[in-house]
Every structure is written in structure tokens, then in C-alpha cells.
Symmetry: none
Subunit: 230 residues, 4 copies
DNA sequence: AATGAATGAGGGTTCATTCAT
DNA sequence: AATGAATGAACCCTCATTCAT
């Protein structure tokens, strides 16, 4: 029931527009190298307007990280809750799409921002540890623990496994906005394929083997690509 | 056989001292936030002297990345050449120590620098892709390929496996200089242990299983820690 | 006979309310440091409304000085006209109360405004010289001149005496809004007492002495104060 | 024994040059209206150089007030100490020249600065109360007290008399840099003459009268008012 | 070779003023 | 009449770089 005069409508949209502009520029040029005025211009407003919504460039940065990442984390958590199948399936059907979406979206750049700026912003460190690392880790940990409890997975050290599983994904995000954005450097791997292959490889290390001659389940997607084998 | 006077000795050491100072400060405070004068002060010289050795702050940055990383890569390469055992052993006995050493050294910070600054310095992108990513990837790839050729490892997609193996290590380096340096955030994993566990977990996914009741090779180091298994 | 609606009444009161707000803030925080919006807020209206009544912040300042001081001067002039006693009595019974009232009122702050801002506003200089200094000086001068003519006062240089009489009063006003408002600084004199004592002391220098053995009246206010003697 | 390279010589002179420039501009245009760059330009250096010597515009302001006024106060104090004649002579021969010199010098502008800025700078209030008002008042008070003790002066309330004597001088300084600098306004009094006349007039009110033929006439008017006495 | 005083471009932020609603 | 969102000129301050000593 927004009374929404055109004026009001713009006003409501501003913060998000500024956040989008800021995210794109901060990731592309770095926080220090981005002028407040550039952010404003990209959001289609003047320098002064930016300061109507965010008290300073630093507050804008914090807002970008907070707002953009929170939404993503919440979405991920929701999806996991709604799913109760075997661990391997859960990882394949929820974790993989979640990272794929993240990698496709602009939000992936937030990781670069965090890497770049945490040390100067205790706020960001707190937020990130509390609202991203902690719940994210816990989420995946729970899946693995459940899998172990059900005998689907070997009783590995869970925190280690969580990181083995997740850290490469974050590196993918970082890569996208760093070397990957430099044109020059074709690392030679396809991100989406890597996500799936990496999950499978890790699962290979995690799942309980049918001890005997059982036909190797080898459940692994066909994997085309030039290095296909055998 | 430097017969150098102390003066001469200082002069020869200058570039390296400046590089050390710059690395430490750039990693800690970020390139933009580090003043040229601070670098000079930390190296024990005056502002002007810095410019006697490096043409600009940017050149100093490039030199830091180039010099510090090249040495490490060369060292790693050398160690691999000298070793001809099974792939799994090679990874355990050369790769692990190499990353452990890197993580302990200041050089680990270079990864953060690269993440932070590549986009603004095509030079760095080129150098990093050509002198770090490429040879590093090739090195590990060769090990895996040899292992596959010898039947020790399953015929996986090698580039994927290389990244699954290596990316978490880089993340460890990044973490050390970002969240890990913020005091607040105890991620709860011990880096050295993670390195070993991660390699083992990945090897589990890579090695060829003795299909039958054969003694499960399950070669996995004792892994003390609370989640010990069985 | 304003039959005004409340709305109308507010509207009529606006200019005065804005002037009050502006006077208080300009004196307290200085003209440059007071934001137009603050004045509006203190007057209970919005930023835009201020500009409906005054064309600019500068015009507002000029209006404050003009309106607030003119009323006071007119009042003073009127009182003097109505009084025809001896000069000394006139000073005691009209001048002293006039300054006492001024000092108690917010208007005293206008002197600070004038001191602070005249140089940037020829308008203010003109107005102040013409409407305040000139008539004020003339008024007191006339009293003294009359006293001299009547033989009550010594034939001193009138302009000098006027200033000896009046300048300290203005300093009192300035003090009230500067050091006197800083909490820290108790100058140790009571303004109202000083006004009276100062007038008496100056009169002592002005009046014609009865040459002869007239019983020394030594009439001097009790002077508590630590330095009383004899 | 200044080794004084030309370089060094400039460096030593800078603070004073900047202070002079700042004093002149702050008094003329007001603190807020003076750009840091203008001060620098007037001192013959660039914007950046100003900040080599003063951490901020505010610190520059404080330094102006502190440095410039302290010297003057110290000078005045010294002169009084060296003099032991009758009070009236002391005032005439030390106080008058002191104020004449002050009025002629740029330092007189500092009073305007203090009036304008004390409220925003507790530092200034403290300094001014402690280092200027307090010692200045005490100095003159001591003269009067001595005069009273010696029977040269009537036993008036000393603090009051001090202010009657001194406040007009300060107003003179203020006037010089405010209305007096506006071209338009010829108040019609000559400052130097006023200083002398004012001191004489006040002395007339202070000195003990030779009773004419008889005992001191000490004529002081009836003074009614609520403090009426008897 | 080394120093550090000096420079000035650059960018964050404020706030008087306007004007669509 | 009243509002308050938007604007952009203005100004403080930082710091990479230069160069006289």
C-alpha cells in the first residue's frame, strides 16, 4: 500500500541502488581507489545525495558487505533446512546450486571486499565471523555430521572436511574478481564444472566404500572436457 | 666475496630491507593506506631514499610481489624435481612442507597483495599468471599425472584435482592475513593440521582403492584431535 | 484586531520565531557554524520554510541585528525623553536599568554578532553606526551636555566621557556570551553590581565637587568584597 | 650558533610567518571564512606546508592566540614590576603606553578572535582566563590596592575599578578591527586620546581629593536604588 | 648517497539553496 | 504555504613525489 509518489519511490530505491553501485565499484577498483562521487554517479545521483543515505564512505562499505551477504546466507540456510535426503545428495543438490548462483551474482565480489578490508574494519570482522563464517560452517558441518551419523560418510574430522569442501569455492569467487577479471589469464578451468568436480572429488574422500567387490559406485558425472579419461 | 665496508653492506641490503618493510606494511594496512614514508621509516631510511631504489610506490609493490614470490616458487620446483617416489608420498613429503613453510613466512601475505591489487596492475596479473599460477599448477599436475600413469591414482580430471588440492592452501594464507589477524575470529582450525588433513582427504578421493578385502590402506596419519575416529 | 485562525497566527509569528531561533544559535555557535536547518528546526519549521521568509542565511542575520536592536534603542530613547531631572539622576535611573534589562535579555547577544560579522556586511556596519552607535552616543552625550550646561558636571570632553561610561557595558554583554558562557571562567564580578559601581565611579570623575567643608559624605556602597578597608 | 643553511633559516621562520598571516586573516575575514590555503599563500608557502607546522586550522588558531597574547602579557607584567611610583603615575606611564602599543600592533586583533571563537574552543577559554584575564586583572588590581593602601586612592571596590579602567581599552581594540575597519564609520574619537582621557576621568573618580580648604569633599550622590543605605 | 622541506593534485565531506510535490 | 530530497560548490586535509642541501 505504498502511497508512492514518484519522489518517495526514488527515495526508497536509493539505498539499494547506491549499494549496487558501491559493490560493483569497490570490487572492481578497490575501496580506496573508488571515489564517493563515482559511486553516486553510477547510482545516478549526485555526490551529496550519497551522504543523505550513508554517513561516510566507510559506512557505505560496511552496509554493502552486511546487506548483500546477509541475504545470501539466509537464503542458503533456508534451503538446507528444507532438505532431508542423504548427505551426498544434499551437497549436490543444495550446496552446488547455491555456490553456482553466488558465483554468477555480483555478491561473489563481497568476498574480495572482505579480504581487502577486514583488517581496517573491526565491524566487518565481527560481522563476517558471526554472520557468515560461523553459520556457514555450522550448516555444512551439520550435513556432514548427519551423514557420518547415518553411516553414509566416514568419520572424518568435520571442521577440516568443511573447509576442504568450501574454501575452494571462495577462492573461485575471489578469482572471478581478481585474476579472472584481468582478461589476460585463462586459468583453464570452468568454474561451474570445477564446483561439481570438486564436490565429487571430496565426496570420494568422504563416503564409506562398499568394502567388497561391489561394483565401484564411482558416482561421478560423466565429466566431458578435454581431459576426459579412459 | 663482498669485501664491502659497512656502508657498502647497508647499501646492498637496502632493496631487500625496503621490500621486507613494504611487504609487511602493504599486507597489514593495504597498499593505499600505507604511506611511502612509513615503508621508508620501517626500513630505517628516509622518504627520499626509498625513491633512490624504487621509482614509485607502485613499482615498489610490483617488486615486492615479483621478488618475494619468485624465490618461493623456484624453491618449490627444485624440491619436486629431486623426488621420484609415489605421488601420494610426493604430495605428503614435498607439498605439505612447502605450504607449511610458506604459511609460516611473511611471503604468505603476497597472496593477499595479489588479490587486492592485480586488477590495477596488468604487470602483476601477467607476472602472477605466468610465473606463479602456471608453473605451480603444472608442477602439481605433473605429479598427479605421473601418479595416474603409474596406476596409483584414479584417472581424475587433473586441473580440477590440482585446484581442489591447492586452493584451500591459498585460502589459508589469505585467512592468516585477514580475518585471522583480527584477533576476534577463531575459526577453530589449526592451519598445519588442516594442511595435512586436507591433503589426506583429497588423496582419499584420488587414490585407487584396493577393491577387495585387502588391508584397507586407509593410510591416514594418526590425527589426534577431538574428532578422532573409529 | 487579529481575528486570525491559529494557522494565521502561526504564520504571523513565524518571522519573529525564526529571528529568535537565529539570534540564539548565531550567538551561541557563531554564524558560520550554525546551519540554516538548525535555525528552522529550532523555530519549529522545515528548512524550506525558512527561505520563504528570508532570502538567505545572510539576510536572516541582518534581520536579526536590525530588528532586535532597533526595538531596544527606540525604547531607551523614549525613556530618556520623558525624564528631565539632574544628569546624575538620569544616568542612575534610566541608563542603569536600561543596560540591566539589556544584559538580562537575549538581545545582549547582538553585540557579539555585530563584533563577529560587521566586517563582512557593509549593511550591518551602516545600520549599526547609523541606528545604534550614533543615536546611542547622542543620547548620552545630550545628558552629559545638559549636566555640564547646568553646572552639575565638570566640562569634560563629552565623547570621551560617553565612551568611558558606555563601553564597559558593551563589554559586559560580550562577556556574557563569550568567556562568561564557557563555564570555566568566573571573572569574579557581578554584572549588575558592576553596572552601578561603574556609573558611580565615572560620575565621581564627572561631577563638580563642592569645594568647601561640606561633611565628607564618603557615601560608597557597602562594598563587601574582600578588599574593603579601614 | 645557528648553522643556518638557507633552508634551515626558512624553516625556523615559518611558524612565526604563518602565525602572522593567520592572525591578519582570521581577524579580517573571520576564522571560518579564511581558507587554510589563504593563510599559506599569505605566508608565502603552499597549502601543504601549513600542515607541516600546524596539525589543523584549529590548532593554528589556538597557536595564534596563545603565542601572540602571551608575549604581550609578559611584557606588560615586566614593566609594572620595574616601577614603584604613585598609582596615578603608574597608570599614566605604564598602563597607557602598554595599551597604546597594543592598539597599534596587530595583536590587538586577538581580542576579536577570542570574542569570536572562545565558545567553540574550551582550550582558548582556559588559556585566556588563566593567562590573560587573571594576570592582567591582578596586575592592575595590585596597583590600585597599593594606591589605596598609601592613601592615594579612595577605598573603592578594586575589581570594579579595574574593569572600569580596562574594559574600554579592550573595546577600543575590538572597535579597531570591526566597525573601525569598515571605512564607513567614524566614531569621532581618537583612540590614543581616548585612552588618556579615559584614564584621567577614571582617576578623577579614584583619587582622594584635597579637601579644598577642608576635609575631603568626597561628594558622592545619594544613590537610592534598592540598596539605599544609611 | 641521503635527507627532509616543500609542493599541489586529489578526494571526503558539509551545507546553503532550490524546487517538485 | 510547507516540505524535504537533491544538488554541487567549497574547503579541509593527506600524501606521493621532487629537489636543494
Amino acid at each position: 500500500m505504498t502511497t508512492a509518489t514518484p519522489r518517495q519511490r526514488r527515495k526508497d530505491a536509493r539505498p539499494a541502488e547506491l549499494l549496487d553501485a558501491a559493490l560493483a565499484l569497490f570490487v572492481e577498483k578497490g575501496f580506496a581507489r573508488t571515489r564517493a562521487e563515482e559511486v553516486a554517479a553510477r547510482a545516478g545521483v549526485s555526490k551529496g545525495t550519497l551522504y543523505l543515505y550513508y554517513a561516510s564512505k566507510e559506512e557505505l562499505l560496511k552496509a554493502v558487505i552486511r546487506e548483500r551477504l546477509s541475504a545470501e546466507i539466509a537464503a542458503g540456510a533456508g534451503q538446507f533446512e528444507r532438505f532431508a535426503g542423504p548427505a551426498a545428495e544434499l551437497l549436490r543438490e543444495v550446496l552446488i546450486p547455491w555456490w553456482e548462483r553466488l558465483l554468477d551474482s555480483e555478491v561473489s565480489g563481497v568476498f574480495k571486499l572482505v579480504i581487502t578490508e577486514v583488517r581496517h574494519f573491526p565491524d566487518i570482522a565481527d560481522f563476517y565471523a558471526r554472520e557468515v563464517v560461523e553459520p556457514g560452517t555450522r550448516l555444512v558441518a551439520r550435513i556432514l555430521e548427519r551423514g557420518i551419523a547415518r553411516g553414509e560418510l566416514r568419520p572424518v574430522d568435520v571442521p577440516t572436511a568443511v573447509h576442504s569442501l568450501v574454501l575452494p569455492m571462495i577462492m573461485l569467487c575471489l578469482h572471478k574478481h581478481t585474476l579472472g577479471a584481468c582478461g589476460a589469464a585463462p586459468v583453464g578451468i570452468d568454474p561451474r564444472r570445477f564446483i561439481r568436480d570438486h564436490v565429487e572429488l571430496t565426496l570420494q574422500g568422504l563416503v564409506v566404500r562398499e568394502p567388497a567387490g561391489a561394483h565401484a559406485t564411482q558416482r561421478r558425472p560423466p565429466a566431458r572436457g578435454r581431459k576426459a579419461l579412459r
